[in-house]
């Protein structure tokens, strides 16, 4: 209870502040209760509902209880909040009406009046009840009456303003209950008062803020007002709200500065624009920096002061809120914005002063944060603090540069003066850090004191920053700090320390492909390497820089000159070579072989054209450009042939090298694209597929270990290859840009040559391209001479002159004059010699070399072709005409039998075979001058024609028809068709053909017909020879007469023996046949001749000079027009006498109406079985069973076999049926039977009562 006695301090150490509550009435009573009260009040939180939609908060309330005095009540217009009494309490334990009336009431009234006068409405009357007192005065009224009286007298409408607290000092449940009720009431009242008073305050504050555009408005005044609110929030431990107040002030100020920058300056702002005289950094170790606050209050603060103060308050609150990392983040922002604001406000700041301020501030913030966090926390939050570290490093660096602390010689007098001035601006060290060894103040002072101290501090900071950046994975930032460090070392003339940082940074930039930083770092590195005397490295960096387009022309020339002067300087001391990669000096663009397929024969000349782009800015004279070539003997002999090589090489012979886009990131461009190829592996013996798959041709490039990027800059161990095979080019001046280089070589050994390494020599400097990629190869081959003969067309046609192409590949053989090809003639093939056969000589690359007349000499056996003289590895091509004599294949027997029985099947057969031409092979053996062995060449000729013949009959008159079918693609002219039978002179062949030549187009047929006439009995067989002259229709004049086409065949059994005649008669009495009604079929079989040679077979039986033969007839209707009623077949015995006739009568029934063809009547020779005696059996009886049992297949055999083989067929079939005494049927040869009713039709009319009309459409 001491506190109320003391006079209140004007302000403030906010943390000790509590909201003020005044106490009036019985002071002793309050004193006795106070300990419990102050202990109990903050115990439970209370929800504070707030205006303006702010979120409600739970608050633990505490209060500062002071004795009520009228002075405590704020006067009109006083806006102080900290000293504002939020609640007034009147304490009494009066329980006596008399006492109440006498003293307490008056006292209360007075108190109330004072409050009313100050319009304070936050009050409370507490009546403390004490049982002990009550017991002493038993006569008094019940206690309620006093409370009621008070309520009645003072709390006219707010009866809850009067609270009863019973037996507060006892430990009973009743006491507890009443305490709780009281405390709740107290807290509620306090909060209500807060809400009301703070709300009013905020309203006032807002009003004040709205006046900010008025001329007299002062930011500092307003600052004080809003800070008051912040203090109250802080007092209520509402740090968040307090922070908001400062943030608002911060933002308001920032906005003013921005507006000032835009030319809208507020008057008050000019106060802040005083020149900066002190730069002692932030002060964060005190909760409130009273000095600065007073400066602000007096409107004497500079921008830095205001910012420092604001930030120190924000920092304090943030630390209360356990947000140290936000402090770090805000600090960085603050420092940046302060620097900006000073610029914007055009505040004059001595050079270096801001750097000092920032440096000190950074360290202050960092130390403040370190002071309130443990190591582990700090380590895990480096990301938040590292910015401050590197900022401090940066600032120290610029201070060092400013004050001459980085130079070799140390600071001069001007620098020293500056240092003194800067130190003066720091003032004296503040007392709170005076005892700290590592205070920012001490650090800065020390760092500025000497070159050595500066270096120590700067390195410390730099290393710390690098380490921190690295530890959180900010490698790029670490590299940047490292580069600063390298610059520092370079200034300090210790390039060996700088190199590692530069290399590290460069590696990083190269890896990510940042061109400008690469160039810049390289320039630094070049300087560093020059100082270090690393000749090779320096030359390499120089060459890279000389070829870098981001470097100015002058600098490029300078670096180029560095290389050239080195090269010229060193010429006198040979032996020492400096190997540098080529890509920084020049780049290959393309490579071109002549001959373009990069295949040369032994002794041939190969030239390689290379386009090389010099990257140097000036022309460079080069002593030698050499390409090392790797030679390998090809194991596979086949690969050596020119054809193979020509087929498998790129056609144009130009190889383009991928352009190296130098600053491209390693990740994607260092790897070449996949080169995938299909692969088929066939077994060598039968060419069947063994394996197939996809192979990657450049797997070695893709799979090799990624070399570290450092090797890009250091001359990697490029070994100079020595070798026997080198392509050279001497004394070349490489102009900037594209240069064409030509290498010539003469091919010596056959094999494959791979271009490996390219080396450009400038003095002792060798620019080396270790591997040419893509693979560049050329092949040298040696080839055996070869002769190839092939037809010009797809196939050769026999009978007409055909062209055949001869190709002589000379290979390594040189064809001399007099060399000739000796062709031994095949019998049936002629080689036609023309006067002007020309041979063309081609070079290996198919270029026409010359055109020579070819001499061909033919003798009986040998045709000799004298070859024109041709050099090695050339080709001689010429064409010769050959003629194969058309010989018809030997055809025997009968071919198709047109118009006779069963013609259909035979047609089918002929058509089937009709599409391929018959071929003949001719073998020619050729003696070549280069070989003792003969070459045998087979030529296949196709016959252009296919010929068939057939026998036609008309009664006994006979005709022979020959069909010539043109199978080739050519059109032919046929003339002089001729048919002779040299055997029988008494036979006459009368041609029925046109005399004029016949034109037959491709795939067409021409028919020739002759009538056969004889005087005497004709022979059983005819031996015919058909010949026809032919010539290709297109060619007008043929050089040689062509042999006619011949065809030989035999015709047998052509003489007609039987005439079959069928007739259908309508039933008697009717005019026409009707469907469904029986008609009679009359068949008459007439023998036309007497006994002939052909009749002499088993069927013939003789009795008494009377010859007869057995025939079987059969009526078959294949088209089902007729129904044969009764017996359809039968065996007859036919007398072998001319005009002997046998008639058969049958009943048939037409099934359809219309003109119906007659049913077929077939005639067979009926051969008895082997036994000599004639069969007793009635043949009909088993024929009627079904004709299945009859051996009918003989008939089928007839179709294909000749009649000559009849006997054998017979025996074959008889042997098959050994033991079965069965007669056999044999179809009569078609020439022997003439069906005179063939093609006849009978009109059948539908029966009248037919109610079903069947219509069949066929």
């Amino acid at each position: 209870m001491d506190a109320p006695e003391e006079p209140l301090p004007p302000v403030i150490y906010t943390m000790e502040n509590k909201p003020i509550v005044t106490c009036a009435g019985d002071q002793n009573l309050f004193t006795s209760i106070y300990p419990t009260l102050s202990q109990q009040l903050p115990r439970e939180p209370m929800e504070w509902r707030r205006s303006y939609g702010r979120a409600p908060k739970m608050i633990h309330l505490e209060s500062n209880f002071v004795q009520f005095k009228e002075e405590l009540l704020p006067k009109e217009g006083n806006k102080a909040l900290l000293t504002f009494p939020f609640l007034h309490i009147y304490w009494t334990e009066c329980c006596d009406t008399e006492v109440y009336k006498a003293t307490v009431k008056d006292d209360l009234t007075k108190w109330q009046n004072v409050l009313k006068a100050h319009s304070s409405v936050d009050w409370l009357i507490v009546v403390v009840e004490n049982d002990a007192k009550k017991k002493n005065k038993t006569n008094i009224l019940p206690r309620t009456s006093i409370v009621d009286k008070i309520r009645n007298d003072f709390c006219n409408k707010q009866s809850d303003r009067c609270v009863v607290l019973s037996d507060p000092l006892k430990d009973s449940s009743r006491t507890q209950e009443s305490w709780n009720a009281f405390l709740t009431k107290l807290r509620t009242s306090l909060l209500m008062s807060f809400t009301k008073n703070l709300g009013r305050f905020e309203d006032d504050m807002r009003t004040l803020r709205e006046k900010r555009t008025e001329p007299g408005w002062s930011f500092c005044d307003y600052f004080m007002v809003q800070e008051e609110l912040a203090f109250v929030f802080e007092m209520l431990q509402q740090f968040e709200d307090a922070l908001v107040q400062y943030d608002e002030l911060d933002a308001l100020f920032s906005q003013y500065v921005v507006n000032f920058g835009a030319g809208d300056g507020a008057n008050w702002l000019t106060f802040f624009c005083q020149p900066v005289k002190s730069w002692d950094g932030l002060v964060l170790r005190k909760p409130i920096d009273m000095e600065k606050r007073e400066l602000i209050q007096r409107q004497e603060a500079t921008v830095l002061d205001l910012r420092s103060y604001l930030f120190s308050r924000q920092c304090t609150l943030l630390l209360f809120l356990q947000r140290p990392w936000e402090v770090a983040q805000r600090a960085l922002e603050l420092l940046h914005s302060c620097v900006q604001e000073l610029k914007l406000l055009e505040v004059s700041v001595p050079p270096g002063a801001l750097d000092c301020w920032v440096f000190l501030s950074c360290l202050e913030v960092l130390q403040r944060i370190e002071g309130c966090c443990d190591r582990a926390q700090i380590d895990s939050n480096i990301a938040h603090t590292v910015g401050l570290w590197s900022y401090a490093t940066e600032k120290l660096k610029s201070l060092g540069y400013l004050c001459g602390l980085v130079s070799e010689k140390g600071p001069n007098s001007e620098d020293l003066n500056r240092i003194v001035d800067l130190l003066a601006g720091l003032g004296a060290e503040r007392p709170e850090t005076a005892n700290t060894a590592q205070s920012p103040y001490k650090k800065l002072k020390e760092a500025l004191s000497s070159v050595e101290a500066f270096e120590k501090h700067y390195l410390d900071l730099s290393h710390a920053a690098i380490e921190m950046h690295t530890s959180i994975g900010r490698t790029r930032s670490a590299r940047l700090v490292g580069k600063d460090l390298a610059e520092f070392y370079m200034r300090k003339k210790s390039p060996q320390k700088a190199e590692i940082y530069l290399q590290g940074a460069l590696k990083n930039y190269l890896a990510e492909g940042w061109a400008l930083p690469i160039t810049h770092t390289r320039k630094q590195l070049a300087e560093c390497q020059k100082h270090l005397g690393q000749t090779e490295n320096y030359l390499q960096t120089s060459s890279l820089l000389a070829s870098d387009h981001h470097v100015t022309e002058e600098e490029r020339k300078h670096f180029c000159q560095e290389i050239l002067s080195f090269a010229s300087r060193q010429t006198d001391s040979p032996g020492h070579k400096i190997v540098l990669p080529l890509h920084c000096f020049a780049q290959l663009r393309d490579l071109h072989f002549t001959p373009s397929n990069a295949v040369v024969h032994v002794g041939g000349v190969l030239s390689v054209d290379i386009t090389m782009c010099s990257q140097m800015p000036v022309p460079v004279h080069v002593e030698q450009i050499a390409i090392n070539v790797h030679f390998s003997i090809e194991k596979n002999n086949y690969r050596k042939t020119a054809e193979w090589l020509t087929k498998h090489k790129t056609s144009n012979g130009i190889i383009n090298f991928p352009t190296e886009t130098s600053p491209c990131p390693a990740s994607q461009n260092n790897l070449p694209a996949l080169e995938l190829y299909e692969m088929f592996e066939r077994s060598p013996s039968d060419n069947s597929l063994n394996t197939t798959g996809i192979i990657c041709k450049n797997a070695h490039m893709l799979l090799r270990r990624q070399e570290s990027c450092a090797s890009l800059e250091t001359p990697s161990g490029v070994a100079l290859e020595g070798g026997a095979h080198v392509l050279k080019c001497n004394d070349v001046t490489l102009e900037p840009g594209a240069n064409r280089l030509m290498f010539r070589t003469q091919a010596k050994e056959p094999g494959t040559y791979t271009l490996r390494q390219l080396c450009v020599s400038v003095g002792p400097v060798r620019f080396v391209l270790p591997h040419l990629y893509p693979l560049v190869q050329y092949d040298v081959y040696s080839q055996e001479p070869q002769l190839r003969v092939e037809p010009l067309a797809d196939s050769l046609l026999a009978g007409i002159p055909q062209k055949v192409k001869f190709t002589v590949t000379t290979g390594h053989y040189t064809v001399k004059n007099g060399d000739s090809l000796q062709l031994s003639n095949a019998e049936a093939m002629l080689i036609l010699c023309h006067a002007e056969n020309r041979a063309v000589i081609y070079s290996n690359t198919r270029e026409k070399a010359s055109d020579v007349l070819l001499r061909v000499q033919s003798s009986d056996k040998v045709t000799s072709i004298s070859l024109p003289a041709a050099p090695a590895y050339h080709m001689i091509e010429f064409e010769l005409e050959v003629l194969s004599l058309p010989s018809a294949p030997v055809t025997g027997g009968e071919s198709s039998m047109l118009g006779m029985t069963e013609p259909h099947r035979k047609h089918k057969d002929t058509q089937k075979a009709g599409h391929c031409m018959a071929t003949t092979d001719h073998k020619v053996s050729i003696d070549c001058p280069w070989s003792i062995y003969s070459t045998v060449i087979a030529l296949t000729f196709s016959l252009p024609f296919r010929t068939t013949h057939s026998l036609l009959s008309a009664g006994t008159r006979k005709y022979i028809q020959v069909c010539v079918q043109n199978l080739s693609e050519l059109d032919f002219q046929l003339s002089d068709g001729n048919l002779v039978d040299p055997g029988s002179a008494d036979l006459q062949l009368v041609p029925l053909n046109a005399k004029s030549p016949q034109h037959t187009h491709s795939k067409q047929s021409v028919f020739f017909v002759w009538e056969l006439k004889w005087a005497r009995e004709p022979p059983p067989s005819l031996h015919c020879q058909f010949s026809v002259g032919f010539a290709p229709a297109s060619e007008g004049q043929l050089s040689i007469p062509l042999k006619p086409y011949t065809y030989e065949f035999q015709v047998e059994n052509f003489f007609t023996l039987y005439n079959v005649r069928a007739e259908i008669l309508p039933p008697s009495g009717t005019e026409h046949c009707r469907t469904g009604s029986l008609c009679s079929l009359e068949v008459s079989i007439t023998r036309l001749s007497g006994l002939l040679e052909v009749d002499k077979d088993e069927a013939l039986s003789e009795s008494d000079e009377y010859f007869s033969t057995k025939l079987m007839y059969e009526v078959v209707d294949n088209s089902s027009n007729w129904a044969v009623c009764g017996k359809s077949s039968g065996v007859i015995s036919m007398p072998v006498v001319a005009q002997a006739t046998h008639r058969v009568h049958m009943e048939v029934m037409p099934l359809f109406a219309g003109y119906l063809p007659l049913p077929d009547v077939r005639l067979f020779k009926y051969l008895p079985h082997h036994s000599a005696h004639s069969s007793q059996l009635d043949a009909d009886s088993w024929i009627e069973n079904d004709s299945l049992s009859v051996d009918k297949h003989v008939d089928d055999q007839l179709d294909s076999s000749s009649i000559k083989s009849r006997g054998s067929v017979h025996s074959a079939s008889s042997s098959e049926h050994k033991g079965l005494p069965m007669p056999r049927l044999q179809a009569l040869p078609p020439g022997q039977v003439f069906n005179s009713s063939m093609g006849m039709q009978v009109l059948v009319i539908p029966s009248k009562d037919d109610h079903v009309l069947e219509v069949s459409v066929t």
Partner: protein, 153 residues
Amino acid sequence: MAVCVAVIAKENYPLYIRSIPTENELKFHYMVHTSLDVVDEKISAMGKALVDQRELYLGLLYPTEDYKVYGYVTNSKVKFVMVVDSSNTALRDNEIRSMFRKLHNSYTDVMCNPFYNPGDRIQSRAFDSMVTSMMIQVLSRAPCCRAGEALWA
């Protein structure tokens, strides 16, 4: 008022970078390159938290005394970095966002060009003029008085 605009490939090499005071190009290159540290950090942090949220704007990457560096990352991890003069306090977050969105649209147009090889440096004139407009456009607009509007509006 961007002073430097950069488009950086997924592999962190520059596809496009242009800055207005050309004499200081190198400085901006270093700055943009270094800012990739923070971009990486933010992307990996975002990878965990904001997978579906699709927030492409990375916000302020890191401030320096004179410049503010803002970042933006496309879904294909192409980064846009914009450097803004610190003194240009009138430029607010929303404007930066819309500038980035414009940049992204223009970049998409570049990508849609069938003759453009993804991964090549951007040489599109349309893109270039868009960037130019972004560098100049805001320059011409004077920052107006907006004291505290945003604060207690």
